[in-house]
Amino acid sequence: METTETRARPDAGAAAGAEPAPRGLTRRALLARGAAFGMTLIVGAGFVTARDAAWAVEVTTLKPETMATLIQMARDIYPHDRLADRFYAVAVKGYDDPAKAEMVEAGIAALDAAAQGRGFDSYAGARWEADRTAILQDIAQGEFFQTVRSGLVTGLYNQKEIWPLFGYEGESFSKGGYIDRGFDDIDWL
């Protein structure tokens, strides 16, 4: 993806804060707005980054808030408490693409509207997962939700880095298969 970049950036938070704040936001304001994304995300100018600044997604076409909401939406569709946000960010970073931006901005706007219909300021402003899931149910039959969900099936679960968190061991030919590595080692039956 030429238009996006995702990697662990120890300095990303600092970089985001140190930028000349093109949208007229001070670092304090950023943090304050970030708080609206109550989970783990802080929105910076052109960046969506982890609260602990362990990683960042640079957004070039989407609004940072949109990307942050999208990452939250991805987590709420496939919530795994042991998976860090960065895996969800990787799974949806491809939407930061001029060809998709309109669809995504409209989809997230509709999601926020659905949230408002249930009395929340925004989707990300709903603090309980159960509330956000109810909001997602409202849009679940729509094209936007279906696109994001089906994209996640491979975008999330085909990231080799997450496999060990599920115990899945992946490729095994180079290790000689499991004939001597526990194909029949079950001990609790």
């Binding site: 709420d76 569709i77 496939y78 919530p79 795994h80 042991r82 997962e129 899931t133 997602l136 679940a140 969900r149 099936v153 491979t154 999330l156 679960y157 085909n158 496999w163 599920f166 115990g167 899945y168 061991e169 992946g170 490729e171 095994s172 030919f173 180079s174 000689g176 298969g177 499991y178 004939i179 590595r181 526990g182 194909f183 029949d184 080692d185 079950i186 609790w188 039956l189």
Partner: protein
């Protein structure tokens, strides 16, 4: 390949085989072994064990048939996988690269579905024009070719973790016929191929060659005779005929996209049960306006895919089902015909394992939220089994040409229409209950009756029949209408039986090659 044959496009003495999977690969080799000159045309490329990839999606991208197809009917696949009705390989070796290797003979009564089950409303049941006794010697040959475990003097495979859970549950619920299967996977070195290393990517192509596939057995052996030329990346577009109604050859797109015409004495169609009827239908001509071999109107009809479904169980402790063979064992107690269960025909239960990426895609397509992810969180503690049962042939379940959608060659694509018969639904419900009980007997804390995947067993769309009015081909797979046109794949199936189909496809292919060679020698073909 000491001696790769090269035949001229104008050589009309060759047998052309379309497709090189379980049926086509075997018929091509068997003919070549008998001295018959064969040109095998395969739409896909050539991949060997060193090329196979231990990664579900990468392997799918390498091997699967992803040319456009469309779907219709009530089956859930049409909703969840609109353009992927079936999971089929496009490569030299066909779906025998992906298959798990379960190799079972039909039960004798299953050759006579109409007689055994009677008239089932809505079903288009018919007896096969062959029977168990006649097929027995061909099964012997097929089992020897594939090296099927627990047949001949070949020992069974050892039981994996997934199998041990399955076996314990089976025995606890009173099942008697449970074992590690009859598998075309070597338990000991056999036929120059080594024993299974329990790698666990059987669906992605066996990198050890322990599992039989025509890709690295029949195909190279046929080529070594000097009588077989395999042309890969050659997509057959239509079969041509003369004004006497005999087929004369095929037109295909070669590797470079150029159109070629290969003359032929005989054409054997073996493109799998979706592409074979599509090819016959796309070959319509003024003389055969409804497509070749279609005077009965049955080409494309009676599409069967087995009554399938999976049950996954989650346990308190790890199972690690992905370690070892993908199909590690079988329960055969329910394979019998016993209408007191509320349905005709029977089903097998076979262990199955999917890796995490495929589990996410197939466990509950369209599912999301905690009910979905909490199951995947327990992936390590899952055991899995698959249901394979006899589905009813229905005239309206069919492969047709979708004239509105074209493939890369400009040819109309196949539409695959399927709706469960009530018998299929009753059988699946019974199998789910059985599978759930089996896992609960071993202490499952959660069980998941999982819907059928895109079809891996595709059958019946050019079925065998005694009479020309009832089907497309006769007892030898020879079309009723055109003497030098044969069907050599799973589309010949008159009924599906409860068993995985490939052993029967191979047995029929060996038998057909024998018949063709004999008829050629007699000058009848």
């Amino acid at each position: 390949m000491a001696n790769p044959a090269r035949f001229d496009l104008a050589d009309d003495s060759v047998v052309v085989v379309v497709g090189t999977g379980a049926g086509g690969g075997v018929v091509a080799n068997e003919l070549a072994q008998k001295g018959v000159k064969v040109v095998a045309l395969e739409a896909g490329g050539r991949y060997l064990p060193e090329d196979y990839i231990n990664d579900e999606w990468d392997s799918f991208g390498q091997l699967a048939w992803t040319d456009t197809r469309t779907t219709s009917g009530d089956w859930r696949v049409a909703r969840d996988f609109r353009n992927l009705p079936a999971w089929i390989v496009k490569a030299v070796g066909g779906t025998s690269i992906h298959w798990a290797g379960a190799s079972l003979r039909f039960q004798p009564h299953e050759w006579k579905g109409r007689t055994t089950y009677g008239a089932v409303p809505g079903a288009n049941l018919l007896d096969w024009p062959v029977d168990a006794e006649e097929m027995a010697p061909w099964y012997d040959k097929a089992e020897a070719k594939l090296g099927v475990t627990r047949t001949g003097d070949r020992p069974g495979l050892p039981g994996s973790n997934n199998y041990k859970v399955f076996e314990k549950g089976a025995l606890a619920t009173g099942c008697k016929e449970v074992h590690t299967g009859r598998m075309a996977v070597n338990s000991v070195e056999y036929d120059g191929r080594q024993a299974c290393q329990q790698t666990g990517f059987c669906f992605q192509g066996c990198k050890w060659g322990a599992k039989w596939s025509s890709a690295y057995t029949d195909i190279p052996r046929g080529e070594a005779t000097g009588n077989l030329e395999v042309r890969d990346r050659c997509h057959v577009m239509r079969v041509e005929h003369d004004d006497k109604g005999k087929v004369t050859g095929v037109v295909y797109k070669d590797k470079d996209g150029a159109e070629q015409r290969q003359k032929a004495r005989i054409v054997c169609v073996a493109g799998n049960s979706i592409e074979s009827p599509r090819l016959l239908l796309n070959s319509a001509s003024p003389m055969f306006p409804d497509g070749l071999a279609n005077s009965s109107g049955q080409v494309g009809r009676n599409y069967m895919r087995h009554t399938t479904g999976s049950v996954y169980g989650i346990f308190e402790k790890p199972v690690r089902m992905w370690r070892g063979t993908t199909m590690a064992g079988i329960i055969q107690d329910e394979a019998r015909h016993d209408p007191s269960r509320g349905f005709v025909g029977g089903y097998e239960l076979e262990t199955l394992s999917l890796g995490l990426p495929f589990m996410a895609a197939f466990m509950d397509p369209g599912g999301w939220g905690r009910p979905f992810t909490s199951a995947l969180d327990s992936y390590e503690n899952m055991a899995g089994m698959w249901v394979v049962g006899e589905d009813m042939p229905q005239e309206t379940n069919r492969v047709t040409i979708n004239a509105e959608v074209k493939d890369d060659h400009g040819l109309p694509v196949a539409d695959v229409h399927y709706t469960d018969h009530p018998n299929d639904v009753a059988m699946r419900e019974h199998a789910y209950a059985k599978g759930i009980a089996i896992y609960q007997a071993v202490g499952a804390t959660r069980t998941m009756p999982t819907p059928p995947y895109p079809s891996t067993h595709n059958l019946g769309t050019n079925r065998m029949s005694e009479h020309a009015r009832d089907g497309v081909v006769n007892r030898h797979g020879q079309s009723h209408d055109i003497a030098n046109l044969f069907v050599s794949d799973g589309s010949q199936f008159t009924t599906g039986a409860a068993e995985n189909p490939t052993l029967t496809i191979v047995a029929l292919a060996i038998r057909q090659a024998d018949h063709i060679a004999a008829e050629m020698a007699k000058g009848n073909l």
